[in-house]
Amino acid sequence: MPDEYNFAYLDEQTKRMIRRAILKGVAVPGYQVPFASREMPMPYGWGTGGVQVTAACLVPADVLKVIDQGADDTTNAVSIRKFFQRTAGVAVTEATGEASVIQTRHRIPEQALREDQILVYQVPIPEPLRFLEPRETETRKMHALEEYGLMHVKLYEDIARHGQIATSYAYPVKVEGRYVMDPSPIPKFDNPKLSDCAALQLFGAGREQRIYALPPYTKVVSLDFEDHPFTPSKADHDCDLCGASDSYLDEVITDDQGGRMFVCSDTDFCRCRREAGHVGRLGGEA
C-alpha cells in the first residue's frame, strides 16, 4: 500500500461521518440518511456512493469483490477493484463465496450470501418517488407521513399502458412495512433476494448524497396490486453456457443473421457451474 494515501483513500474523519450515516441507516431500515458525499476520483454515475460506503467499511483483512451488471470483468468493476487494490491493498476475488465485502452495480449475486458478508450497492437515484414528485421537500414529507399512494399510481400506469406491471428494474419495495425504497436498478428478478438476506446490505448514492441500509434478515416486500401480483421475471431460456435455468440471463447478439445466445449475467456463478461439469446448449463451442 502506498504511503501517500490514507487506508482506502478517504481520511478517517470522512469515514467516521459515513459510518455514522450507515449506522443510522441500519437503525432505520429503508430510510435515506443524508451524508456529506465527497468528491471521488471518478465521475458521478460510476459508483461514487458505493465506493465511499465500501471505503468506510473496509478493513485490511477484507476480501473485496466488485460486480458490474453481474460481471467481474467489465470496466466499472475492474477500475473500482483496482482502485481499492491500490489505495487499501486489500485482497480481491471474483468468487462470491470468498468475498467479505461485495460492491455491486445492478445485480445481486445468484449464490446466497452469508452473515459475515456486506453487499454494497451503487445507487444512481435513491428517491423512489422522484419521477412522480419532483419536489424534494414534498417527497421527504411523503416518506415521513407514509403517503405512498403515488407509488401505486406508477404501477397503475404500467398496467393501463402495457397490460402488466412493466417496471422491470428498480422495482419499488416496502421495507418492514414502513419505508418505500428504491432497491437501485437491480432487475426485479433479484427483488426476492433482498428480503430475509443474511448479509448486511448498504446502499450509497454519491451525487444525491444519501445512504440507506437493510440489516440482515429484513423483510422486504415488492409493491403490487391484488389482481396483478408481483412476479420476478427473467428471459425464458436456460443459460447457453452452463445450462442453469434459475439464474438471471443476458441476451448476447452473436452475428447479424439473428443469432443470439443467453448467458448468466452472474459470471462467477456461471464459471462455477461450468467447472462443476454443467454444460449448456452452446457450452462446448463458445
Partner: protein
C-alpha cells in the same frame, strides 16, 4: 331577516339548520407582513350548503380559501370541521391528520387544472390516485371506479388512458372534478373553477357541478369573481373587499338587493346583454 355587514356569531344562530354545521369558522385572519390577506372572517357552513365568496382581485378570497383548506397557515382564528370523530379545529390538528383529511373528507378544485392534475399520468391514474392514497390495492376495482367517474363528468370511457395534456381545457377541469370527488368528500373547496373557459363550456361545467352537488349532497365553498356562477350554484354569498367580509346573506337577496356600497358597485358592474 336584517342583513348584517360584518358577521357575528349571532348570524349563524338566526338560520336554523337541521344539523350541526359542517364547518365553523371564526376570527380567521391572515396577514402578509403589515398588509392584510383576510381579516376576522366568521361563517358557518352546513351540510349540503354551497357558499359563494365573491370580490374583486386582491380582495383576499383566495387567501381565505387557502387558509380554510390548510394550504396557508392563518395568523389567528379557528376552523372547526365536523370530522367523523366530532368537531375538531383543523388548524390545531397534526399535519398527518390534516393531510389525511384533505385526501378523504376534503377536496380542492384549482382554477388551473394543471395545478390539480398530474399531467404526466393518464386520466384513469389521475382519478385513481386518491383511491390508492387511501389504500385501494385492486387494479380492476380502481379502474372500474375511474371509468364510472369519467362517465359522471361526461368524459368518454375510451379516453381513460389518455393523458390530461391531450384533453381540452373544459375536459381537464371536469377530470379534475372527478379526481377530487372520487373518494366522496364532504367538503369541496373550489377556486374559480370556471375561470379561463369559454362561456358555452362554462355553462356545461356549471350544469354538471350543480347536478353533482345536488346528487351527492356536497358542501362547497366556491371562490369566484363571476356573479353568474354564484347565482347558479351558491345558496349563500359572502362579499369580500380589502380582506374583510363586507356583506353576506342568501345569494338572491345579496344580488337583488345589495346593501353595501361595494356590493352595489359589483352588481351594477355586470354587463347586461
Amino acid at each position: 331577516m336584517t342583513l348584517q355587514s360584518a358577521t357575528g356569531p349571532e348570524f349563524s344562530q338566526k338560520i336554523r339548520a337541521p344539523d350541526q354545521p359542517l364547518l365553523r369558522v371564526s376570527g380567521l385572519t391572515k396577514r402578509y407582513g403589515a398588509r392584510i390577506g383576510c381579516a376576522d372572517v366568521c361563517f358557518d357552513l352546513f351540510p349540503g350548503e354551497v357558499l359563494g365568496i365573491v370580490g374583486e382581485s386582491g380582495s383576499g378570497k383566495s387567501t381565505l380559501l387557502s387558509c380554510l383548506a390548510g394550504h396557508l397557515a392563518p395568523d389567528a382564528g379557528e376552523v372547526i370541521f365536523a370530522t367523523a370523530e366530532g368537531p375538531r379545529d383543523t388548524l390545531q390538528m397534526t399535519e398527518p391528520d390534516r393531510r389525511r383529511l384533505s385526501r378523504t373528507d376534503w377536496a380542492f378544485v384549482h382554477q388551473n387544472p394543471r395545478d390539480g392534475l398530474r399531467m404526466g399520468v393518464s386520466a384513469g391514474g389521475n382519478v385513481g390516485e386518491r383511491l390508492m392514497a387511501v389504500g385501494a390495492r385492486h387494479y380492476g376495482a380502481i379502474r372500474d371506479k375511474a371509468t364510472d367517474w369519467l362517465g359522471r363528468v361526461e368524459i368518454a370511457a375510451d379516453r381513460i388512458d389518455d393523458r390530461p395534456s391531450a384533453f381540452s381545457g373544459g375536459m381537464q377541469q371536469r377530470l379534475q372534478i372527478a379526481r377530487n370527488l372520487v373518494t366522496a368528500p364532504r367538503l369541496v373547496f373550489m377556486d374559480e373553477p370556471t375561470g379561463g373557459l369559454d362561456v358555452s363550456v362554462q355553462a356545461r361545467l356549471l350544469d354538471l357541478l350543480r347536478g353533482l352537488v345536488r346528487d351527492l349532497g356536497l358542501s362547497v365553498i366556491i371562490v369566484t369573481h363571476d356573479l353568474a356562477v354564484v347565482r347558479l350554484l351558491a345558496d349563500r354569498l359572502m362579499v369580500m373587499k380589502g380582506g374583510r367580509v363586507v356583506e353576506q346573506g342568501l345569494t338572491d337577496q345579496v344580488l337583488d338587493d345589495p346593501q353595501h356600497a361595494y356590493t352595489q358597485l359589483l352588481v351594477s358592474s355586470v354587463l347586461q346583454v
